[in-house]
Every structure is written in C-alpha cells, then in structure tokens.
C-alpha cells in the first residue's frame, strides 16, 4: 500500500511539474516575443520637449508678449523626494515633543518607508557609486562596499546641501524652495493616487527655481559638479516688454486648471487656421435678427443683473463664437480614435502644472499661441529611441497701438486720482486702438505682487474696466436715444420740447433737469440739436417715454448695448438693456413708464461698458453703420468678413445731421456742456457728449442676498463720462473716457480736458489729420 500511495504522490508531483512546464513553455517559447517586447517597452522613458509659445504683437509689430529664453534650476525627482521625506520626518519630530523615543520611532518608520522607495530607485545608488568611483583605486573589496553604503546613507545631507547652495546662489529663501518641492512632490503623489500608476514625472527632473538670468545660471553651473541630482536647464519665461501697459488686454498666464488637464485644442483639419473659409453659422443670424429682438433679452443679461453693481468679475458668457471657434480650433478631451491620433493628442494635451493663458488675449488666443510639444523616448540605458520635434505656436497680432495706449494710460488716465477707463476705436475699420483700464499691474511682476493685487478689494486692480465692467452710461446715451426717436418717427429733429426744469408739473421734485437741480433754471423749448448741446434731461425723458417699450430697448441693442461687443476677450461683458422680464425677475415690478424715462437719459437699470459707449459713438459718426469692434488682426478678419461684423441701422439723414451737429455744439458752441473744458481750436474738430451718471457706491462686504447687510461704503460719487469722435467731417477715431466715483465735478469738467489730451495724442500718433 505504501508504494502505491507513494506512486499517487509522485503522480501529483508530476502533474504539478507538468503544469509549471507547460506554463513556462507558453510564456517563454510561445509568447516569449510578446513578453520581450513588453519588457522592452517598460524600459523606455518618455521626456517632453518644451514648445515655444507664439508672440503677441501690436498693430505695428511691436512685441507685447514673448517667450524669452532663460534658465531654470532642476532637481531629479528622487532628490526632491529625499528632501521631502527628510523634512517630513523632522517636522514629525518637532510636533511630537511628548516623548523622544516615541517620536524617534515614528520618524524612523516614516524614513524607512521613504528610504525603501528610494532604494528601489537605482539612480541614488548609481550616484553613490559615481562618488565612490573617484576614490575607487584606493579602496578594495569590503572597503568599497562600506564606502558605497556610507555615501548612500549620506546622500540626504548632500541633497540638503545642494538645495542650500542653490538658494544661496540665486538669493532666495530656502523655505521658498522647500515650498516648491513640497508642491511638486505632493502633486505627483496625488496624481499617483488617482491613476494608481507610476507616472512619467517620477522619471524626470523638475524645475524648482525658474526664470534665471544668464549670470545666475552660470554661477549655478560652476557648482553643479559638487551638487547632487541638480542641473541647469534652458527654459523660457513669458516676458512682457511693455510691463504694465495694456496689462488687462494682454492677460495673464497661469497653471492650467485641474479640470482642463488632459484636454487639448484640436486644430482645424485644413492646412492652416488662417485660411479657414467663412464664419461659423452662429455669427450671421445673431446680427440679422438683432433688429427683430423682441422683449426677450439674451440670457446673459438676466445673469448680469444678479451681480451687485456689475463690478464683480464674472465668468465670460460669450454669445459670440470664441476665438478658438473662429480659428477653427475645438477643445476636446484627449481620446484617441487611432494610435497615430492618440500620439498627436498626447503632444497637445495639457499636462498638470502646465502654464496656459488665464485672462485677456493670452487666454483668448490660447489655441493659436500654444504650440505642440515634442517628445523624446529614451531607453533606460540612455540611448535615444525616438524623437518628435516641438512645433512652436503662431503669433497673434492685435489692433492696439501700444504707444497710444501708453500715452492714454500714463498721461491721461493717471492724470486723475480716481480709477477709470478709456477706449479708442478707429472709425473706418472698427479696430480698437486703445483699451485702457486703471489701475493697472505689471505683468512681469504679477506673481510677486499677486497677494496684494487680490487683496485690494477697493480698487480691484485685476478688473478690466474697459470691457468687463458695466456702468450707467448717463448722458452719453442721449445721441443714441435721439437717433432712435427720429428713426421711429416719434420726434423730428426740428420738433421742440419745452423744458421747465422738471417733467411733471404736479411733482417738481421728480424727473428734474440738471439745470433745475443746480440753478433752479430751465432750458425752455429745445430742438434735438439744442437738447444735445445742453444735455437737457426733460427732452430725453420725453423721448424715452415716447419711444416706449420695446422700441427703446430694440434701438439700444441695435447700437450694441446689452450684447457682447465681439472683441472675443474672455472678460468681455454684455452690459445690460433691461427688459420687462428682467425687471420682473430682479426688481419685482414691470417695466414702468418712469423706467423708460430714466433709460432715456442713460440711468435706471441701463448699463454699458466703456467699449460699448465708444462703439456707439463710432456708429453715430458713421451715420448709422454699426461695426463690431475688432481686437485681433490675424485669423479673425478672414474668418469673419466685414459683412458679418457690421449692420446698417438705416437712420434718417436729417436726424443724423442734427445729432452730429448737437455733438459738435457740445464742444464747439459756447453753450455746450464741454465747451469750457474740451474746446481747442488747434485740434481737429471734436464732437462729443458729456455724461455724469449717478451710481450706487462701491461697498465692501455687502451681501446682495440680504438688503439689511449694507456693507461699508469705500467709494462713492458720480461716474464721469466723455464720449465722442473726431474730426467732425470724415471722422477717424471714436472714443469714450470714464472716470469712476468722482466726488466733485461733472463729465465735462473731469473728462473734457482728458478728451482734449486724447485727441492730441491721436493726432501725434497719426490717427487724426
């Protein structure tokens, strides 16, 4: 029985052996090639090659933003990890001051875990070997091993020394460096926890000190041989030669938002984006139906109304196609249809921590500016297996004249203590020549001053006031209302309206004219031209009332109020032309007659951005031809031909003549509201309209949902406007100037002199005869 049972046991062993041999044969003989290929693949390391971001240039080719070569100090991931683990352990020791032994033990565990990971990385041991190799000849046998172990144990101190040395050379604090290291390590660990895989970043060096100049980098290079895992690599930084000029328009770069990581911009299938034919269908209908827009406002308006005073920064809500759409780019989550496409996607998709445009043109033209990075596949032994070169991004030309912009910012806006904005539009083409906002910030120092900039809730320096902030336009809307009334036939240019100083004889304390308020006077009977010259409120109350709902709203929209101007800037706001529905939703009452009256003088719930006001003036100057303002030259012109960007409002010629004469009188007639401030016989004939709009004060810590929480008033006063165009005949430029929260003075007295300066600047730069 024993032998038979032993035989059974032998059979069992034989079966097990057979199973193992079959498996071995299957792995090594049948699928050996596939396994070997897979093993080979697992030895490859991919490294990205940085691309070159396109430049931003002004209309004369002057550089506004450029990638500038610089250097960065990099450290191997293993070294970063070592430094991090060491600091963690030390921190633990500091915090657990209870028992030295206990602390020691937990620190030991922490370090052990970290070290085990580190030992798995043979890089560190290679480093140790390299160091020992220098003393190799003197050492023998056991001494070599011992020395190697010693060096390996001493590596953390060496990395620490490396970091101290680098910080000292560059002149930054070690704490700053540690912060950056923590950020990188923690980020990689977070990604690892999500993808549950070893990530490529663990194989590569990471930049920890960025934007080094040549002198510093040479100083670092000379010390590299003593450092561990460190390198000085060429890199680029975004450089803005104009500093604070046009900072809001050019915009900022920042780390890509976490939800955008992995997405990419896919280019149009055609050869180049610039030659893409035709506008996207969304453009044309919007314009052709603009006149027919009934009481229903675009949805964006309702959203705008919820914001207190419209000064808070909002997410862009483009009713226009975005720049990307015009250029033919589409944003997709990187998913492959085939292998080749997938590899292309990998080169385009956003990696964590990558820089991307966040605001302004940097954001708007991101798909075009952004290039395609290259790829290098190395074998672990160091041999180069495969390489794809990086493709640089395309340049973007904007319509701004950076010198004009600079003059306007430094000499005109900075001449007043208050904040403000100014816009200049080239009338024949609709191109924006200047788009200034005050206060500004220096793009090159943005990172350093970030905290201060964000903390300033009173002045909101990051807010782009020219396009992203809507204000009551005040009297600057009066020319538009006059033209609307004439076009609708409710008023003729010659028709007079009697101004007694107030609108309703029964209640002289309401709906008063400014002349009654200030001097208890009256204007008497006013024609259209006179009403504009005197900025008579009674005339335009009446005009608003006579136009009624929805004609007044329709006409204001036709002049570009309440819709996105179409510069394609992500910050761009639509302003607000309130509708009946909006009034119900936000004011809990219908659109009343008095609301219409107030809107006739640009008050009430009507709000517009300085860009919209300036473009309204341009429309008046063209005699009723509306053109969407244009900010980017390359790409958009071809994609959106003029026909899709303009509409003829078909205004009666006599009314246009009367309004233009009235606006000329404002400056050039001795009775004009701006004559004392803006008239200069040496300059081209200036036409304009003053405006002094009442606005709610800016409050801090106000809660829009709770009327009882009023907040602290930090800024109060009127919004002073001056908008117009020049010269009177064959007009070239239209402009709008806004000064916020003026405590004393009116639109004429505050902005009139600024308008004079602006016209002079435009003449100096050759935009006016």
């Amino acid at each position: 029985m024993f032998n038979k049972r032993l035989f059974i046991f032998m059979l069992l062993v034989g079966c097990a052996a057979a199973a193992v041999v079959v498996r071995l044969a299957q792995m090594q003989l049948v699928h050996g090639g596939a396994y070997a290929h897979q093993a080979e693949e697992s030895l490859k390391v991919t490294r990205w090659l940085a691309t070159h971001r396109g430049e931003i240039l002004d209309r004369r080719g002057r550089i506004l933003a450029v990638d500038q070569p610089c250097f960065e100090f990099t450290l191997r991931y293993e070294a970063l990890l070592t430094s991090w683990a060491q600091r963690q352990a030390r921190q633990l020791m500091d915090q657990q001051g209870v028992s030295a032994d206990e602390a020691q033990e937990s620190v030991g565990q922490q370090l052990e875990a970290a070290q085990e990971r580190l030992l798995r990385d043979h890089w560190l041991t290679q480093q140790a070997r390299a160091i020992v190799h220098r003393q190799w000849p003197e050492l023998t046998g056991r001494a070599r091993d011992q020395r190697r172990a010693e060096v390996l144990a001493g590596l953390p101190e060496r990395i620490d020394w490396t970091l101290n040395r680098a910080a000292e050379t560059v002149g930054i604090g070690r704490a700053e460096l540690d912060e950056e290291i923590d950020r990188i390590v923690q980020h990689i660990w977070r990604v690892r926890a999500i993808v549950k895989m070893r990530v490529a970043e663990e194989e590569s060096p990471h930049g920890i000190i960025h934007a080094l100049d040549e002198v510093t980098s040479v100083a670092l290079l000379s010390q590299l041989s003593d450092m561990l895992g460190a390198d000085v690599a060429p890199s680029t930084r975004r450089w803005y030669p104009c500093g604070p000029t046009a900072s809001h328009v050019i915009g900022l770069m920042g780390r890509v938002a976490s939800q955008d990581v992995g997405s990419l911009w896919r280019p149009p299938p055609g050869p180049t984006p610039a030659t893409r034919p035709g506008p996207t269908p969304a453009v044309a209908p919007r314009f052709s139906s603009a006149g027919a827009l009934a009481d229903l406002p675009p949805e964006t308006d309702a959203n705008n109304g919820g914001q207190a005073e419209g000064t808070a920064v909002q997410a862009p809500q483009p009713s226009w196609p975005s720049f990307a759409q015009i250029a033919g780019f589409s944003r997709v989550e990187a998913r492959s249809e085939n292998q080749a496409g997938h590899e292309q996607d990998m080169l385009r998709e956003y990696l964590p921590d990558e820089l991307a445009g966040v605001t302004g043109i940097e954001r708007m033209a991101e798909p075009v500016l952004r290039g395609i990075r290259g790829r290098q596949v190395h074998h672990r032994s160091g041999a180069l297996v495969e390489q794809t070169a990086a493709v640089g991004g395309q340049d973007v030309h904007v319509t701004l004249d950076i010198e004009l912009q600079q003059v306007i910012e430094r000499e005109i806006l900075d001449g007043r203590p208050e904040n403000g904005a100014a816009v200049v539009i080239h009338i024949p083409t609709g191109q924006v020549l200047a788009l200034a906002s005050k206060p500004r910030y220096d793009l090159n120092e943005y990172r350093v001053k970030f905290n201060a900039l964000v903390a300033d809730q009173t002045n909101l320096p990051l807010l782009h006031r020219a396009v992203a902030c809507s204000y009551p336009p005040g009297s600057t809307v009066k020319p538009l209302v006059a033209l609307a009334a004439a076009a609708e036939g409710v008023l003729t240019p010659q028709q007079t309206i009697e101004c007694r100083g107030y609108l309703f004889p029964s209640s002289p304390d309401k709906f008063r004219c400014w002349i009654y308020k200030e001097h208890s006077g009256q204007h008497g009977p006013q024609t259209m031209r006179e009403a504009l010259r005197h900025s008579c409120n009674i005339y335009f109350y009446t005009a608003g009332e006579k136009l009624g709902n929805p004609a007044l709203m329709d006409w204001l929209r036709r002049f570009g109020m309440g819709e996105h101007p179409g510069t394609l800037l992500p910050e761009e706001k639509a302003g607000r032309v309130p509708s009946g529905r909006w009034m119900w939703q936000n004011q809990s009452h219908p659109l009343r007659l008095e609301d219409l009256c107030l809107m006739g003088i640009g008050q009430g719930k009507l709000e517009a951005t300085p860009l919209q006001v300036a473009n309204g003036m341009a429309t008046v100057a063209r005699g009723g031809l509306y053109k969407a303002p244009l900010l980017v030259l390359s790409g958009s012109e071809e994609a959106m031909p003029d026909s899709s960007r303009q509409r003829d409002l078909k205004l009666p010629a006599d009314a246009v003549a009367a309004v233009q004469a009235g606006m000329s009188d404002v400056v050039n007639h001795s009775d004009g509201t701006a004559h004392n401030y803006a008239y200069d016989p040496d300059l081209p004939e200036l036409c304009g309209k003053t405006g002094t709009a009442q606005a709610a004060p800016r409050r801090l810590r106000a809660d829009p949902s709770r009327p009882d929480v009023a907040g602290q008033v930090v800024l109060s006063g009127d919004m002073a406007w001056f908008a117009g165009y020049a010269p009177r005949h064959n007009p070239q430029i239209a402009f709008a100037i806004l000064v916020e929260y003026v405590s004393a003075g009116s639109g004429g007295s505050v902005c009139g002199p600024m308008a004079k300066q602006l016209v002079r600047a435009c003449r100096d730069k050759g935009y006016l005869p």
Binding site: R5, A16, A17, Y35
Partner: protein, 452 residues
C-alpha cells in the same frame, strides 16, 4: 578504507550532485543580480551565499553521518525548542516589516520558521511510525496538533511557510496509510476554508455612485452585478474605466435586499483584520491584466514574469537590457530567483532546474521505497513532499499561476537559514538511504492485492 567504505555504501550520489548543482546555479544567479543591481540589499550577497553554501555542505555531511533514529528520539525536544524559538522571534525587532529573524550576534541571523519546517517533519514522522491510530478519525488529532501549533505561530509573520505545512502533513498521512475518506474530509474542509463562499455587505453609497460601471444580470429575484468592460475603439479593454471590486466571486442582490459580495471564506477572514498586503497580493494576482495593478501592487509579479518570459528559449543575450530588467524586480535574488534563472538561461535553464529537483524527488522516493524502517520512510517522504511543495509554490508564483506568498526556492534562493535547513533535510534523506538494507528483496507477494 573501511570507514569511508561504510559511509559511501548506498550513498545517493544523484541527490548530492543535484543539490550541489542547484546551489551552484543559485550562487551564479545571485552573482548576476549583484553585478547588475548594485544596491545595498544585494551588495555582498554572492559571497555570503557561498559561505552559507559551505556551512550548508557541512550541515549536509553532518546530517548524513549521525544516526537519524537518534534525531528521531530527540525530535520532541527539538520540536519544543523550535516552538520556543517561534515565540521568541515575535519579541525580536522587525526587519523588512516582519518578525522573522532572530539576531544571533554579528551578522548571523536565524529564521526559526525555516527550521520549524524540518523539525515538524521529523517530529511528525517520529509520531506516526509504528502506529495505526491515525486510521481512526480521532487519531488524527495529534498529527494535526503537531502541524497547526507551529503553523499558527508562523501564520502571521510568514504566510507562505505556514501554508507549506498542511500539504506536507497530508502527503505524510497519505503515504502512512490514513483512510481515504478521512483525507477527503480534511481536503474538503481545507477547500471550504479556502474557497467557501460567504456573503459580505457592500458599501452601498459608494456602489451607487459607480453603478454605471456595472452590468446587471437578473435571473428571477437574483441580480448579479458584473463590472462592465469598457473597450477602446481598437478593441482593447480600457482598464482605467473599469470598476475595482474586492476579491470575490460575484456581487449579488436578492430581490430588493441588501447588496453583498460573495467572498471566499479565507479572504473574508483576512478582510476582517483590515486590508492586508496578503489580500493585495491575491487581488493583484487575480487582476494581472489590469495596468493599474501592474504598476502598483502587482508590479513585482508582473515584472518578474516579464523578465522571465523575455529570456525566451536560451536566455537574454543583451547584457545591458538584462541588467535593466534585474533592476525592475525587487527581491529578485531572493524569492524571485527563478525569474533570474529564466531571464539568464531561458527555458532551457528553467527546465534544467526543474529536472534537478525532479532527480532529488525521484531518488528521494527511491530511498523511501527501499527503506524498511518506518520512521525513515516517513522522514524521506516528508522531506521530498516539503521540497516539492516549496518548489511548486515558488515557481508557480514566479510564473503567475499563484499569488505571491513569500517563499524561497530551496537551495537556489539567497538566504542562509533556508539553505542550511534544506541541506540538513537532504542530508537526513541521504542518511536514511545510506542505512537501508544492502540487498533488499521486494516485499513478498505484494502485487497490489490489498488495494490502495
């Protein structure tokens, strides 16, 4: 000379030679690793292993010389001593996260669990000889006690070694003539403990959130949730989208009742203690295809398989690539030495190693059949069973047929205790063979009449 004449009488040369060959292969493989990897773990291992081999050879010779029945006589005392060591090791400081080694002064360490394997065989063989009590169910209590007590002590720190004892016990009971139905009962019990399905409640809010990652199959009131296979456009499975289930047979629901996982009993027991690395190994073995697993918990096994298979028929010819592969697998000089053999010498090398083990087994069984002494017979079978089980488990985990259990490849893997104990065991085997009768007539009239 008469002494040597007596010594070499019936000496099983093939066993000794196969043992030497395996030790040589082991040292060469460790040298390969040491040369390529160059880490603190591996530095100096070849020299140490060579020293262990010398000690092992001494132990082997010593074990062939003593009277093995004397060893048997002292087996209970040895067993008690081993148990003491197994308890003592729990109070020693941990290394590599486990209490497995006793520091014996200087660089010498003892791994009592390795010693326990051998002592257990000797004690069991000593207990089972000249008895037939184990042919009754009640008589199985003592053999099981001899197995389960050391097993329980090792279980926590060294799952692999402890799991080795049960199959060895079964084989020894089998050849000692235990009744088939008893063995079957034990086997069934073992299978139930290992694989018996038990329900375990599911974290329902979490499941609700991921419900779109599952397909539901309904048969009457019985619903089964199966992780959906997301496929890419080229037909390959998109593992990153697939839900990760705990180790279980199925996720079920009966009617509107609670959702539960049907888990193997052993897994449920391990899970009760919290998520352990052993469970992670089982999980990573079951989901070998998943790249997420390959990169984390399963990377050791996956990389060892890659390295072994990339050796193909005759071994890796590219030395630089070989070195890189060796760096990919931690512990490859130790538990994963077989994949080093596979990588360096290919299928031929693997086969050679297996054939060498086969030689030891065959000649070990020859020793067992030709020995008249009951204790000697059981001892020989026990040694062979232990060796075969170790080899099978180690190789199976290296080629991905089993989860990683932390088992050395006897005589080849790096490790002093393991090497010396295995040499001792083989020495005892040769010893038994040396003392069998010179001319042994086959047992008369045993032609298989009494059944098996």
């Amino acid at each position: 000379m008469p002494i040597f004449e007596g010594y070499f009488r019936r000496f099983s040369w093939p066993i000794a030679l196969a043992m030497l060959a395996l030790m040589a292969i082991g040292i060469t493989a460790i040298w390969t690793v040491e040369r390529a990897v160059d880490s603190r773990d591996v530095a100096g291992c070849t020299a140490k292993q060579a020293a262990f081999a010398v000690v092992g050879l001494g132990a082997f010779l010593g074990a062939t010389v003593v009277n093995y029945r004397r060893v048997g006589q002292g087996s209970y005392a040895l067993f008690a001593l081993t148990l003491f060591l197994l308890v003592a090791v729990l109070f020693c400081p941990a290394r590599k996260g486990a209490h497995r080694w006793i520091q014996l002064g200087g660089p010498v360490q003892l791994q009592p669990s390795e010693l326990a394997k051998l002592v257990f065989i000797v004690a069991l063989a000593w207990y089972l000889r000249y008895r037939d009590s184990y042919r009754r169910l009640g008589g199985l209590i003592v053999p099981f006690a001899i197995t389960l007590v050391p097993m329980g002590l090792i279980l926590r720190e060294d799952l692999g070694t402890s799991m080795l004892l049960l199959p060895t016990l079964l084989v020894m009971l089998l050849v000692a003539g235990a009744r088939w139905r008893h063995l079957l009962i034990i086997l069934v019990l073992g299978v139930v403990v290992l694989f018996g399905p038990v329900p375990r409640p599911v974290d329902e809010p979490l499941f609700e959130r991921q419900i779109d990652k599952y397909d539901a199959w309904q048969i009457g009131p019985f619903v089964r949730y199966k992780p959906r296979e997301f496929r890419r456009e080229d037909g390959s499975i998109d593992w990153s989208k697939r839900a990760v289930m705990p180790v279980s047979y199925a996720r079920c629901q009966i009617g509107e009742g609670p959702i539960f996982d049907l888990q193997p009993l052993s897994v449920a027991m391990i899970t009760l203690k919290g998520h352990s690395y052993q469970l992670a190994r089982v999980e990573s073995w079951l989901r070998q295809e998943d790249p997420r697993i390959r990169a984390t918990a399963g990377f050791q096994q996956h990389n060892s398989m890659l390295m072994l298979a990339a050796g193909r028929a005759a071994g890796q010819s590219d030395r630089a690539a070989m070195a890189e592969y060796l760096r990919m697998v931690p512990e490859d000089h130790n538990d994963f030495i077989f994949s080093v053999v596979g990588a360096r010498w290919g299928f031929a090398g693997c086969l050679a190693v297996l054939v060498l083990y086969g030689i030891i087994c065959l000649f070990g069984m020859d020793v067992a059949t030709s020995t008249a002494d009951a204790f000697g017979r059981l001892l020989a079978v026990g040694v062979v069973a232990l060796l075969a089980a170790q080899v099978f488990i180690n190789v199976a985990m290296t080629v991905g047929l089993m989860p990683i259990t932390g088992m050395t490849l006897p005589l080849v893997s790096y490790g002093g205790s393991s090497l010396v104990v295995n040499c001792l065991a083989l020495g005892l085997l040769v010893n038994v063979g040396r003392r069998r009768p010179i001319s042994l007539a086959p047992p008369p009239f045993e032609f298989g009449g009494d059944g098996i």
